[in-house]
Symmetry: C2
Subunit: 291 residues, 2 copies
């Protein structure tokens, strides 16, 4: 099976490592508009050959691992160019926009819309690592619109990567992911910015910041190329999520200004409930690293 | 040397582990108003004996590892009860309040105001771990107000723990720490709360949240008993920090509402600058874990 990966960054590169190691696919080709990424990916052995989009008709499986706006723009051309037995899957963090485009295309049933919940804040082919996906959840949307073989192949691919597949409506996906992923990124970008604005002397940050600060702003290292298109495509859900977050922060600030300790205790105890969820995620990660 | 630790939680317990292992002090006594913590700390071998505040006159070194409001309230009584050669040090995350109290006390020079930048989001004596402090920075305030012997003892204690000592004015300490530590905690508590409010069905959070979400809300597990007094004592600095953070979030929301991708790119690139600081913190942590 020829697997052609469009986008040889963290996600595309990590997919290549695991799929090759587990013998899912015999030939790995890569497409990347960034020449440095393309040659680096080949140098690292992530792909056997760099090709351009015109060669997609040789692929049995095309994986789109590019920013969500590019995936949306390329999907029509890709579905037009592939052979009639091939399958296309995307990895994007927003699903409503691309699913709407797909619905207008004649060979819609060769495309599977998906979103593996995995990543790090690092970018480019050098950031690719083994087992990035193992133990995590992946979401498939509009599965009833895929031909049977396409859905089965993608399910098999995710099982090979060690992921648990769940199914969601694209609209629901985008709503929930706004809160549990996209909002965290804005919170982190903005926190990083706030601290950099105030602490012109970075030595203070370096000396006084502990592991707690590092943890909350880690995502501020994430790539603008990846995230701006996500924020754009999920703007409406994200705007609501941000407003709720801002309202909660304004409320907390009022409690601090009024030194209302009782209410602060109540809010923190409510927030501590997240412990149950986090302990579950940690267990999942430990099982993952340990296996 | 008898070391009496007041407060046998994460910080007090972790101090006991390292100081004992490195033979700094021969006898470790503990004080804790929470009976469960006191007996647990003794059971875990963190301290040899549980005593009450009336026994502080036996101590050569008294370490206050309790919430900042309690440290502030207890300091006068403690400085009154200790013997004339003893030294008292506190570990609190705010320094201006306690230093002001100390300035009014007759034996001010037996007290060293400090803040080791170390911790985890876990609480209680069971959370105590070895090497919690190693490789991190600790801050000493108003060092010129301490008698020479007291300052030397505390410097030696921190060196024994593997910490780098820096000196700051208490007012400066509280201002900077508001941005690089306290603000992160509010950002995290509020993010946890926002997501819990929307996602009544925690299964969605659990399935869809990845390591990025876990990282940004990890601090939401932190203890209200510790943090409410910190927020109260650093209210004025923190209120300003929060306002700047809120303003930046409101600005980001506007960019999303207007789909202003150019400005989003610019802000994210600015925020990415935090990478330099974070890479430094990571190196510090790696050196620490590897040594």
């Amino acid at each position: 099976m020829n697997i052609t990966i469009v986008g040889l960054g963290l996600i595309g590169g990590s997919l290549a490592i695991d799929l090759r190691a587990r013998k899912f696919g015999s030939e790995f080709w890569g497409v990347d508009s960034n020449e440095h990424h393309a040659s680096k990916a080949q140098e690292l052995g992530l792909v056997d050959k760099i090709v351009d989009l015109e060669h997609l008709n040789k692929a049995d499986l095309v994986i789109l691992a590019i920013p969500v706006d590019q995936a949306r723009n390329l999907l029509p051309k890709i579905l037009q160019n592939i052979n009639s037995q091939a399958v296309v899957v995307d990895m994007g963090s927003t699903k409503q926009g691309i699913c709407q485009i797909a619905d207008q295309l004649p060979n819609r049933d060769q495309y599977v819309a998906s979103h593996p919940i995995s990543g790090t804040e690092n970018v480019g082919p050098e950031a690719a690592i083994a087992n990035l996906f193992r133990g995590n959840v992946t979401i498939i949307c509009d599965q009833e619109k895929c031909r049977k073989y396409a859905l089965e192949l993608i399910r098999k691919m995710y099982k090979t990567l060690g992921m648990k597949v769940i199914y969601m409506d694209p609209k629901d996906h985008d709503l929930h992911i706004a809160y549990v992923s996209h909002l965290s990124h804005i919170s982190s970008f903005t926190l990083g910015l706030t601290v950099l604005e105030i602490e012109k002397n970075e030595k203070n940050i370096f000396n006084m910041a502990g592991s707690g600060f590092a943890s909350t702003v880690r995502l501020a290292k994430s790539s603008a190329d990846m995230w701006v298109p996500i924020f754009e495509q999920n703007a409406s859900n994200l705007s609501k999520a941000l407003q709720t977050y801002i309202d909660n922060l304004i409320h907390f600030k009022k409690l601090i200004d009024h030194l209302d300790k009782t209410a602060m205790f109540r809010i923190i105890h409510q927030s501590n409930e997240i412990r149950r969820v986090l302990d579950g995620i940690e267990l999942k990660e430990k099982a993952n690293n340990g296996s």
